[in-house]
Amino acid sequence: MARLSSQTTTHPSRRRTHTIDLFSRWSFLTPATVILVAVLAYPIIYTIVISFSELSLATFSPTSWVGLDHYIDALTNRNFLNSILVTGVYLLFALPIQMLLGFGTAFLMNAEWKGRGVVRALFLIPMVVAPVVAGGIWRQLLDPLWGAVNWFIGLFGAPALDWLGDPTLAMITIVLIDTWRWTPFVALIAAAAMLSLPSDVFEAARIDGANWWQTLTKVTIPLLTPIIAATFVVRWLGAVKMFDIVLASTKGGPGQATNVVNLYIYEEAFRGLHFAEASAMSVVVLVITMVLTAVFLRMSNKLEEKF
């Protein structure tokens, strides 16, 4: 990559150029950093401070310092730990399915024909439907008594499945609704990425006589790795925060079977008004998320370098 100045000399004009160069590099990061610091700095500090204190609900400000009490409470809270487990199970199934389905669908949607733009635009719709409405519609469709899905599978003789009342089926339900909502996201990004792929590489592969599978594994996937990694990380962070779908469909039930961690924190904060405890839990979730994100990023960096 071209460098505009050498960094070993202290010649005044070179130093000035160096400063200008540094400025020009950082200017790319400035708008984002400024906005994020302005908006996030106080809230994050506040969250951390009240996670170590008692919160007075009369003024919403921290009163006495309680140290790690809230954290210990959180980490010994059976319900909180259960919600982390539930979230883990949900992510384990939802993320791979969404990535595979998304990239596969993107491939199908990229086929060149007149209706391609329309299909792509329509495919967006599941993402746009408000989560409350989406959860509600799916709840209707899956209801054992009047749901279209059970009526449909009943035509083939299958018994009425209790989609929302059976713990395993309820987990499948939220994975299903989440996949329905977010596969278009993955597909959209993947489609754009596939369109950006340089066509000469594929020409070269074709001339070399590569077949469909070889092209896929030796050319397409390596080229797409940065996008796959970026999409995965972005989707992973979004999925960790998911709770509106669960709230609208299963409400965390049956029992605690689908009580994902963000729903649990939301209810602690807004129903129980336990803001300080909820902050401690949020910090715990944040730490876990950051650790896992770092792991994913390192893995994706290695993959990028390999390809």
Binding site: I35, F107, V119, T293
Partner: protein
């Protein structure tokens, strides 16, 4: 020999047709619940929960006309448009620049900064909403468009930044080198060369930014009261109606209405996207 060529071409055409039709079928499958929602929006409340589900019914537009005026939907739609597009445009500009910096420019500490920014996405929004409200109230900004736009930027910028970083990393390195040999500054090279080439990625990021901001509920609930409330808040209110029971017809109607502007936007932008691609292709 010509027979072999012809059958190979037919094979390719069949494969192509299968690909197209598979895509259409998948799209239709995904749209089935949406179709159900649109149907529901035209049903009378008592036709919605019947056993078995009614497919033929007398349609009514009463839900659209009566309830929607009642619930101040037009005003809220306008607010949602302002906030979603405002936040998205700011985020695209800031995020694209930041993503480019992370992908292509060597800056000490940039990678750490980038990871920190990304990690901020991991904070449960519930934790952030209350302090944001307290700050906004102290600054007198509660219940304004600007406070929502800023709040939305807080989660859109990291997204855009990391997504576009992935796009930029995949670009050939020769592009900037050529531009800089021609005497372009970094910023100039970015805006004149990189951005046009990355339009598919940037437009995709814009579309999904609009969508994410469009449907955001928690910040809108906490930070606004009346003046700047958005459609998702209205939807939550209808769904959580603990007095009369959730009016599913109204929910479906609002759901249908909120889908339309974004789809139109996506359709318009799609055409532009394809045109951009065509130009990019001819340039090679």
């Amino acid at each position: 020999m010509s027979i072999a060529v012809r059958s190979h071409r037919t094979q390719k055409r069949t494969a192509h047709l299968v690909r197209i039709w598979a895509g259409v079928i998948v799209c239709l499958l995904f749209l089935f619940p949406v179709l159900w929602m649109v149907m529901t929006s035209f049903k009378l409340p008592k036709d919605i929960f019947t056993v078995p589900p009614t497919i033929f019914f007398t349609p009514t537009i009463e839900t659209y006309t009566s309830y929607l005026q009642y619930a101040d939907v037009p005003q809220r739609m306008l607010n949602t448009v302002i906030v979603a597009f405002g936040a998205s445009i700011v985020s695209i500009v800031a995020g694209a620049m930041a993503g480019y910096a992370l992908a292509r420019i060597r800056i000490r500490g940039a990678a750490t900064l980038g990871v920190l920014i990304l990690a901020s996405r991991g904070v449960p929004p519930i934790a952030l909403a209350v302090p944001m409200f307290l700050v906004a109230r102290n600054l007198g900004l509660a219940d304004t468009h600007i406070v929502l736009i800023l709040a939305y930027c807080s989660f859109l910028i990291p997204y855009v930044m990391w997504l576009l970083r992935g796009f930029f990393v995949a670009l050939p390195k020769e592009l900037e080198e050529a531009a800089q040999l021609d005497g372009c500054s970094r910023m100039g090279a970015f805006f004149r060369i990189i951005v046009p080439i990355s339009l598919p990625g940037i437009v995709s990021a814009l579309i999904f930014s609009v969508i994410l901001a469009w449907e955001e509920l928690l910040f809108a609930l906490v930070l606004t009261n009346n003046f700047a409330t958005t459609i998702p808040v209205a939807v939550a209110g209808i769904a959580g109606d603990t007095v009369n029971g959730a009016n599913w017809g109204a929910l479906a109607a609002v759901g249908t209405l909120t889908v339309i502007p974004v789809v139109i936007f996506a359709l318009l932008v799609q055409k532009w996207l394809i045109r951009g691609m065509a130009e990019g292709a001819t340039k090679g």
